[in-house]
């Protein structure tokens, strides 16, 4: 249909559309060369521009612009549905096609013959043919998330695709509802959406009938942020932010459909971990209150004539304590997830990594069902990835070398987890080349972390030497390849692990492989702590790091080369005085102390304290930014009595400092 409408109407709008298409295309290119993923919003804007152009050209009966934009729309449609990958070649095709559309518009405007579009059409067709066969899961959305049908059914194919993408990436989904006044809703909802886009992706904006002179909107957002972040950064009248729950696992067969037709089939809810954190904080505070009641009970007992009352109160106090413990255990249990969650993720990367490194790897997983705090699991994936990459890169030898050594061509990397008391132990081991202590030592000297006259003995000080690989600045790239550690590396791994109150240990045998052992508390949310006093100051020590408490007379402490040590059974253990770490007044006349033996395996140390107070459940609160890097302190906690806020010791970093000084002293 050749329209009688003046061509200038077409020209003005067509040029506007192509202008914004060009801008979208340029920012796509910029994003891609910056290495970032494609922003779906920008891609969608580009799609919409071309789509509008096509509609426009069609209405004005302009065949070539219509046909080209039609084909281009197909390509963009596949791109935004993730069926074609936007590589360099695709971008080139897009740029050329948009430029050609621009020329066609010019030619149409000047009533000139239009240029041929045959070649560009063929090129787009070629790109379309190599589309990936990535088949997205077609499971109905209602099987995957719990979202009202009234919202699911208004999603366009594209919105549905984006939602599926968010689900595939396990992003957090939220349903926001807000009510606006009819007179101003437009600017308000635009502001709201603009803010939301900073935090995530808006899947859809659905207007809903509002009461009176208002209008409501339901917005589905996919994001990596938690609810708190959204809630604190946006404001809108009557704003409700509801997490959209995932339906976990496979839906059970609807065996008794007639009975449960209206009921949700799944019995699981998905809860934001921060909600559990705040519950845990409340439990922590209730423990404080419980302790106060305990103190009042003790004080009452001493009062004349209140004995009966005090006994009753004591009983109530005990049952409060029991129930509180049950509550706490219940919340902890909810936080626990099987560690297999990251194992699977790691396994995927291993395959790719082994291929890139030209190694043959058999990744063996053990103990996937071992449970660990959800937040810790997230923080563990980086250090574990690092250890595994080390094992593949530098531990496992290339297949030909292995064959020469009489080993099977395929190297084994083993990732295993198992519970051990209040801890979880994770081991990353390989049957590769292992590390040579002599080499580590010479490289440590070379990179300046160990003095030339260190006096360490390869046999006697094997442990200390292996620990050198965890020192910052130890490794350089050359060093690394030879001794199976990566350039930037082990010190970061160690730091991450000790942030989780965990410890890392290494064992190795030249030619047979290495084992890295991570020992972690099962949760950081609430821990048992030993409350002690030293130099008039009260401290809490996580009980999970305490091995033994010894009552010690001053005479049992010896000084070797300026360092205080003590014999514990057959072993000499370095000692640390909190008074000297924190510059507290030391009571020189004291003749007996307690030595708190902390650490793991051979990495042990005694902390000298004046007196022991009690054991208590504590919730560790982080110190403010300015104090966050303070050596030896993990955080602060409230004890709920007159002692107020006390510091919680970071045992791992204290051991670190002491052992390093011990090595320095030995030098």
């Amino acid at each position: 249909m050749k329209s009688s409408r003046p061509i200038k109407d077409f020209l003005a709008e067509a040029e506007d559309i192509l202008e914004s298409a060009n801008q979208a295309l340029l920012s796509l290119e910029a994003e891609q060369s910056a290495g970032g993923g494609i922003n779906p919003d920008v891609l969608n804007a580009l799609f919409r521009s071309v789509h509008s152009f096509k509609g426009l050209a069609g209405m004005f009966g302009l065949k070539e612009p219509h046909d080209l934009s039609h084909k281009l729309e197909s390509l963009l449609g596949e791109l935004r549905l993730g069926k074609v990958t936007p590589g360099r070649e695709v971008l080139d095709v897009l740029f050329d096609a948009i430029a050609l559309l621009g020329r066609l518009v010019q030619q149409a405007g000047k009533n000139q013959p239009l240029e041929s579009i045959t070649a560009p059409l063929v090129r787009i067709e070629e790109v379309l043919r190599i589309k990936s066969s990535a088949s997205a899961s077609d499971r109905p959305l209602s099987d995957q998330i719990i979202l009202d049908q009234s919202i699911l059914q208004v999603l366009t194919e594209y919105e549905e695709h984006r939602l599926r993408e968010c689900i595939r990436e396990r992003k957090k989904l939220f349903l926001l509802k807000a009510q606006f006044d009819f007179s101003s809703f437009e600017s308000e909802i635009k502001d709201l959406n603009a803010t939301l886009k900073k935090w995530g992706e808006i899947i859809c904006t659905l207007p809903i009938a509002g009461g009176g002179n208002g209008i409501g909107f339901a917005i589905v957002v996919g994001t990596r942020e938690g609810r708190e972040t959204l809630a604190s950064s946006i404001s809108a009248p009557n704003l409700i932010i509801d997490p959209i729950a995932y339906v976990e696992g496979q839906k059970a067969e609807p065996a008794r459909a007639e009975a449960g037709a209206l009921k949700s089939v799944s019995n699981t809810v998905r809860v934001d971990i921060y909600k559990l954190d705040s519950l845990m904080n409340i439990v922590g505070e209730m423990h404080l209150i419980k302790n106060i009641i305990g103190r009042i009970t003790r004080e009452l007992r001493a009062e004349q004539g209140l004995a009966v009352l005090s006994t009753d109160l004591h009983k109530a106090h005990r049952s409060l304590e029991r129930k509180l413990n049950e509550l706490q255990e219940g919340i902890l249990e909810v936080r626990m997830v099987p560690i297999g969650q990251i194992f699977t993720r790691l396994a995927q990367v291993v395959r790719k990594y082994a291929r890139d490194a030209g190694k043959e790897i058999d990744l063996q997983l053990f103990g996937e069902e071992t449970e660990l705090d959800k937040l810790m699991i997230e923080d563990l994936s980086d250090p574990l990835m690092h250890l595994i990459r080390n094992a593949i890169d530098h531990g496992i030898e290339p297949p030909d070398v292995r064959c020469r050594l009489g080993k099977p061509a395929q190297g084994i990397v083993k990732l295993s987890a198992f519970p051990k008391g209040n801890h979880v132990v994770i081991e990353v081991s390989d049957d590769g080349a292992g590390m040579d202590p002599a080499l580590i030592m010479s490289k440590a000297v070379e990179s300046g972390v160990l003095k030339t006259d260190h006096g360490l003995d390869v046999e006697r000080d094997r442990k200390e030497i292996l620990d050198l690989i965890f020192l910052p600045g130890f490794s350089t790239r050359e060093v690394v390849t030879e001794i199976s550690g990566r350039g930037v590396g082990m010190d970061v791994v160690k730091r991450n692990v000790s942030k989780l109150s965990g410890m890392i240990d290494v064992q190795t045998e030249l030619g047979a492989g290495s084992v890295f052992t991570l020992t972690l508390p099962i949760t950081l949310a609430i821990i048992k702590a030993l409350v002690i006093e030293s130099g008039g100051q009260v401290f809490a020590i996580p009980l999970s790091s305490v091995l033994e408490i010894l009552q010690t007379a001053a005479g049992e402490i010896e000084t070797i080369e300026g360092r205080e040590v003590m014999a514990v059974r057959d072993e000499t253990v370095p000692l640390l005085r909190l008074t000297s770490v924190f510059n507290l007044p030391a009571d020189q006349t004291r003749s007996s102390f307690y030595v708190i033996l902390v650490g793991l395996a051979e990495r042990r140390m005694g902390i000298i304290v004046d007196s022991l107070r009690d054991q208590q459940e504590i919730v560790i609160k982080p110190l403010g930014k300015r104090l966050a890097e303070t050596q030896g302190v993990a955080g602060a906690t409230e004890l709920g009595d007159k002692r107020g806020v006390v510091l919680v010791l970071d045992v791992e970093s204290l051991i670190e400092g002491t052992l390093r000084k011990a090595i320095a002293a030995a030098i």
Binding site: M1, S3, R5, D9, F10, E13, R48, H51, S52, K54, G55, L56, G58, M59, F60, G61, H66, H70, E73, S74, G77, S150, Q153, V154, L155, T156, E157, E159, F182, F185, E186, I189, K190, N193, C204, T205, L206, P207, I208, A209, I215
Partner: protein, 123 residues
């Protein structure tokens, strides 16, 4: 006179639809350039018909249809989709949501009027 709301982000196409209706006679058309404008325009008069595009910024046609159909005040206003969607998917969704008819762009004047008349007659 039948009051018609035209929701379409292309100005040229929007006025083309309006002129087609006016030429056919018996229609008073109000234009909205996007979904938000449509939401603002809806309460301003008693509309007999809504013609909407699907692919629009901010609020798309399906979301607009969802809103109209879930709102007791507007529920009974017939909706006609005018869209270039070559993929059937979104057209089907629109019809499932309760749209009365569908016109594919580029459309002939007569085809548009036929679908509009059917929608108004409730067929």
């Amino acid at each position: 006179m039948k009051n018609v709301l035209i929701v379409e982000d292309s100005k040229a196409i929007r006025s083309m639809i309006r002129m087609s209706l006016e030429e056919a006679g018996g229609f008073f058309a109000v234009e909205a350039g996007n979904g938000f404008e449509a939401l603002r325009t809806l309460p301003t008069r008693s509309f007999d018909l809504i013609i909407t595009d699907i692919n629009m910024p901010d609020i798309n046609g399906l979301e607009l249809i969802g809103y109209v159909k879930s709102n007791p005040t507007y529920r009974d206003i017939p909706l006609v989709i005018v869209s270039t969607e070559k993929t059937e998917a979104d057209k089907k969704r629109g019809m499932a949501l309760g749209a009365a008819g569908y016109v594919e762009k580029p459309f002939k004047k007569e085809a548009l009027i036929t679908v509009v008349a059917k929608a108004l007659a409730g067929k």
